[in-house]
C-alpha cells in the first residue's frame, strides 16, 4: 500500500512540473514556402500597390504586396516637413478649412475610383474624420490634388465610399449635430429633438475628377458607421450601417448598446439625384472650404463656399428604407454580385446576410414593420438571406474573393473567418495578431475581386516585433487566400494606424507614372525657366528671390541687402528634366520647414530673418557628386540699413562692399 502511495505521490509531483505548459491553441505554424511567396528579389517589383490609411497620422501610406515593404508615405491631411507640404506657400492652402488652417487630420478610409464596378486607376479618395473633409489623390503623381470640406457633418467616418462608376463620393456623418443653418447653441441633451444626420453626395467630374457637393440628405439623428455601394442589380443604391438608434448623447458605450437591433439604411441615390435635378431641395447656409492643387501652376488655391443643397429625407418618397440589423452594426458590405448585403454587428453573435432582390420585393409588397423616425422599416425575416451562426466575437467588416467566399474580421476574438456566401457555412478561421479591425482582399469591394491576397490590419501589436518603448506601431498580417484554407505569409509593422486599405495590381498604375514635370508646361506665378532670369526684387519690406537649382549650384548663391524686418519669399525652380533628381532647399534658423522641389517644379518657401549676419542656405537632397558644394550665403543687415540689394553666382556674384 505504501509503495502505491509513493508512486502516486511521485506521479503527482511530476505533474506539478507540467502545469507550466499552456494548452496549444490553433495552428501557429507557418508553412515552409511562405518565405518564397513574399520574397521580392532585388530589382523585381511587387504585384500590388496597397494604399493604406494612416489613421491618426493623417497621411496615406503605400505598401508593396507581397513584400510588405513601405514604398512611400503620401502627405494628405497633415503637414509634412520632409517635403514642405503644408509649410510651403504653394501647398498651405490645401489644409485651409472654414475654421482656418488645420495642420493635422485623422485619415480613416480610402476608395479607389471605379468604372463599371472595377478599379480604373484614376484617383484615390481619402476621408478626414475630425474636421470632415474628402481628399482626391492623382495616381500619376501620387500627390493630393483636391480637398473639399463637408459642412453639417461631424466625425466623417462613413466616408469616402464611392458609387460603382465614381458618379458620387459619399460622406456620412458619424455624429449627428445641429445643422449649420439652425441655432447650434442648444442643450446637448436635446439630441433626439434637435440634432440631425447628414449624408453628403459629392459629384465627381468624370474627366477632371473635380469634386463638388451635389446635395446633402438631412436625416433623423443616429450615428452612421460605414457604407458601400450596390453593384450590378443593386447599382443605384447605397447601404449605410447605423448605430445609436437609442439616441444617446452621453456614455454611448452603454447607452448606445441597449437595442437588440439597429439598422442598415438603404438609400436609392439614383432617385434622390433625379429629384435634385428636378429642382427638389433647398439652398442652406453653410461655410466650407474647397481647395484645389494644379500641377501646371504647381500651386493650390482655397475657396470658401457658403451654401449647400439640402434635401430632407422625410420629404422624399421611395428613397430611404431601414433594414433591421443586430446589434450596433459596423460594416455594411455588398458582395461582388450585388445581391448580398452583409451587416457586421460589433456586439452580435451572428452575421446577418440580406438579399437585395428580397429587399426590392419587400418594398413592392410593402412588407414593413412600421417606421422609425418617419422612415419605413422593412421586416427582418422577409429581407434576410440567412445568418452565419457562431462565426466569432465582434464582427467588424467583410470583403469578398473571386470564388463566392466572404472574409469577416473579428476584433474581440482576434481572427479572420472565411465563409461561403450561398451556404453561410464557416470554411476556415485564422488568428490575427492581435485584434484585427478591417481587412482588405485585393479588389475585395469591387464587382471582380482579384482575390489571392488578404491583409488584416490590427489594432494591438504587443510582442509581434522588437519592442520600441511603450508606443508600438500597428501590425498587419498578409494571408494567401488562393486555396481552401487561408495561409499566413507575412507579418509587417505599419505607420500611423491603418483603418482600411485598397489593393490594386501594379500593372494598372506603373505605366501612368510621371517621372518629371515638363518645365515647358510650368505656369507657376514665380517660375524662372533659365538662370538668366534669376533675380532678387524688393517691394517695401517684402523680398522675392527668383531662384533656380540645377546640378550642382544655386542661382543666385550670393545675396546681399536683405534686412531684419523683411519677409523673404524664395521662389525656387528645379531646372532638371532627368528622372529622380529632386533638390531640397533650407535656410539656417528658418522658422519653417525645408522644401523639396521635383524636376520642372517651382516651390515657394517663406523666411523671416531673425538675426543680423551671414546666413547660409543649401540643397538638402543628395543630388550629385558635388552636392556638398551646392550652397550659398545671404547677408542680413540691420533694419533700416542702406546695404544695396545685390545678387549673383560665380562671376556675377557681388564684389567688394
Amino acid at each position: 500500500m505504501e509503495k502505491n502511495v509513493k508512486k502516486i505521490a511521485l506521479f503527482v509531483l511530476g505533474l506539478a512540473f507540467f502545469t507550466g505548459c499552456k494548452p496549444k491553441t490553433t495552428s501557429d505554424a507557418i508553412s515552409g514556402d511562405a518565405a518564397k511567396k513574399v520574397y521580392v528579389a532585388p530589382g523585381e517589383h511587387d504585384e500590388f500597390y496597397s494604399f493604406t490609411s494612416g489613421g491618426f497620422s493623417g497621411q496615406v501610406s503605400v505598401y508593396g504586396i507581397p513584400s510588405g515593404r513601405l514604398l512611400k508615405v503620401l502627405p494628405v491631411f497633415s503637414q509634412d516637413p520632409e517635403t514642405g507640404y503644408g509649410y510651403g506657400e504653394d501647398t498651405k492652402p490645401m489644409l485651409n478649412t472654414s475654421h482656418g488652417f488645420v495642420p493635422w487630420g485623422d485619415q480613416h478610409h480610402l476608395a479607389l475610383s471605379q468604372t463599371n464596378g472595377e478599379y480604373d486607376g484614376k484617383w484615390l479618395f481619402a476621408n478626414e474624420n475630425n474636421t470632415p473633409r474628402i481628399a482626391r489623390l492623382d495616381l500619376t503623381t501620387f500627390t493630393t490634388t483636391e480637398i473639399i470640406e463637408i459642412p453639417n457633418s461631424a466625425g466623417n467616418h462613413s466616408s469616402p465610399f464611392i458609387t460603382d462608376n465614381t458618379e458620387y463620393v459619399i460622406a456620412g456623418t458619424r455624429f449627428s449635430v445641429p445643422f449649420e443653418e439652425e441655432n447650434g447653441d442648444i442643450p446637448i441633451s436635446s439630441y433626439a429633438e434637435n440634432f440631425s444626420g447628414a449624408l453628403s453626395f459629392i459629384k465627381v467630374d468624370q474627366e477632371s475628377g473635380r469634386m463638388n457637393i451635389d446635395f446633402q440628405l438631412k436625416t433623423p439623428p443616429v450615428n452612421y458607421d460605414l457604407s458601400h455601394t450596390g453593384k450590378g442589380p443593386s447599382s443605384g443604391w447605397f447601404f449605410f450601417s447605423t448605430y445609436n438608434t437609442e439616441k444617446a448623447h452621453t456614455l454611448l458605450e452603454v447607452n448606445a448598446s441597449q437595442n437588440d437591433k439597429d439598422f442598415i439604411l438603404a438609400i436609392n441615390w439614383k432617385k434622390a439625384a433625379e429629384l435634385v435635378k428636378a429642382g427638389k431641395g433647398r439652398k442652406a447656409k453653410a461655410k466650407y472650404a474647397h481647395n484645389v492643387y494644379d500641377h501646371d501652376s504647381h500651386s493650390a488655391t482655397s475657396t470658401i463656399l457658403d451654401e449647400v443643397n439640402v434635401l430632407d429625407v422625410l420629404d422624399l418618397e421611395g428613397v430611404a428604407y431601414y433594414i433591421p440589423c443586430p446589434k450596433s452594426p459596423h460594416g455594411s458590405d455588398i458582395d461582388p454580385s450585388g445581391e448580398y448585403i452583409v451587416g457586421s454587428g460589433k456586439l452580435a453573435s451572428l452575421i446577418p446576410v440580406f438579399s437585395f432582390s428580397k429587399m426590392i420585393k419587400a418594398i413592392e409588397d410593402k412588407k414593413f414593420d412600421g417606421e422609425f423616425d418617419g422612415i419605413p422599416v422593412l421586416n427582418y425575416e422577409t429581407v434576410l438571406h440567412g445568418e452565419v451562426q457562431k462565426p466569432g466575437l465582434g464582427p467588424l467588416h467583410t470583403e469578398f474573393d473571386d470564388k463566392g467566399n466572404a472574409y469577416t474580421s473579428f476584433f474581440v476574438s482576434s481572427e479572420v473567418v472565411k465563409w461561403n456566401l450561398k451556404t453561410l457555412e464557416v470554411i476556415d478561421r485564422q488568428p490575427t495578431y492581435y485584434s484585427t479591425g478591417h481587412l482588405t482582399v485585393a479588389g475585395g469591394d469591387t464587382k471582380k475581386p482579384y482575390g489571392k491576397y488578404l491583409v488584416a490590419w490590427n489594432k494591438i501589436t504587443k510582442d509581434r516585433y522588437l519592442p520600441t518603448g511603450p508606443e508600438l506601431t500597428q501590425s498587419a498580417q498578409l494571408f494567401d487566400i488562393s486555396g481552401e484554407k487561408m495561409e499566413l505569409l507575412l507579418d509587417f509593422p505599419t505607420i500611423g494606424e491603418p483603418h482600411y486599405a485598397q489593393m490594386i495590381p501594379a500593372s494598372l498604375l506603373v505605366e501612368k507614372q510621371k517621372r518629371i514635370y515638363d518645365i515647358n508646361k510650368n505656369k507657376h506665378k514665380y517660375v524662372v525657366k533659365s538662370e538668366d532670369e534669376t533675380r532678387v526684387v524688393r517691394t517695401g519690406n517684402r523680398v522675392d528671390v527668383y531662384m533656380t537649382l540645377i546640378r550642382t549650384h544655386i542661382a543666385p548663391d550670393n545675396i546681399e541687402g536683405v534686412k531684419l524686418g523683411d519677409e523673404v519669399y524664395f521662389h525656387i525652380t528645379n531646372l532638371e528634366q532627368d528622372w529622380d533628381l529632386p533638390h531640397g532647399f533650407a535656410v539656417l534658423g528658418n522658422n519653417n520647414s525645408e522644401v523639396l522641389i521635383l524636376p520642372g517644379e517651382t516651390r515657394t518657401i517663406k523666411w523671416k530673418p531673425t538675426k543680423v549676419g551671414i546666413i547660409p542656405m543649401y540643397c538638402t537632397d543628395f543630388c550629385s557628386a558635388l552636392h556638398q558644394e551646392m550652397q550659398g550665403y545671404i547677408r542680413v543687415s540691420p533694419a533700416g540699413s542702406n546695404t544695396p540689394l545685390r545678387y549673383g553666382t560665380g562671376d556675377k556674384a557681388p564684389k567688394g562692399s
Binding site: I550, R551, T552, E576, Q577, W579, A625, L626
Partner: protein, 195 residues
Amino acid sequence: MATSQKSLQTVTRILTAISGIAMFVVLLVPIWQIQLSAPQYPEGLSLYIHANKLSGDVNIINGLNHYIGMRELHEQDFIEFAILPYVIIFLGILGVLAAVVNRKWLFFCFVIMFAVFGIVAIIDFYMWLYDYGHNLDPAAPIKVPGMSYQPPLIGFKQLLNFGAYSIPEKGGWIMITAALLSVIAVIKEIRSKKK
C-alpha cells in the same frame, strides 16, 4: 544582241537605283547612335545623330558632360547638319540618274563620289569625337589626370562610370548596305569589261 560598251548591265542598274533611293530613306531616320550605360542609369541614355539634327537624351547628356568639362552638344555648332542633307540628296539623285541614263561613266562617277563621301564623313566624325573628348574645360570640377573622354568611333569604350557604345542606326546600316551593293555592282562591271 551585243551590249553597248557604254551601257551597264541590268543588274548593275538595279543595284545602283536601289542605292540611290536608299539615300532618300537615310534622310528620314537616325544615321548613328551612341548608347550610354551607368550604374545609376538602369534606363540607359541615348544619343541619335540624324542627317540634319540630334535626338535622344541630349539635354541630360549635356547636363552630365559639364562635370568633366566636355562641351555641350548643340545642333547649331555643327555645319555638317546644314550640309549633309544636300549631299545625301545629291548622291541619291546621282544614283537614280546613273541607273536611268545607263552610262558607265555616270555610274563610276556615282560610285567614286559615294566612296569619297563615306571616307570624308568617317574622318569628320572621328575629328569631332577627338575634339569633344580632348578639348576639356580647364575649370571642370572632375579632373582625372591624363584622362580624355573621346567616345569610340565604333564599338565600346568605358568612360569613367559610363560605358559608351557607338554603333550605326538605321540610316547607317542603309548606307553600309548601299555601299556593299555598289561594290558588287563595280565588280560586276569590271568583270564584264574583261570578258
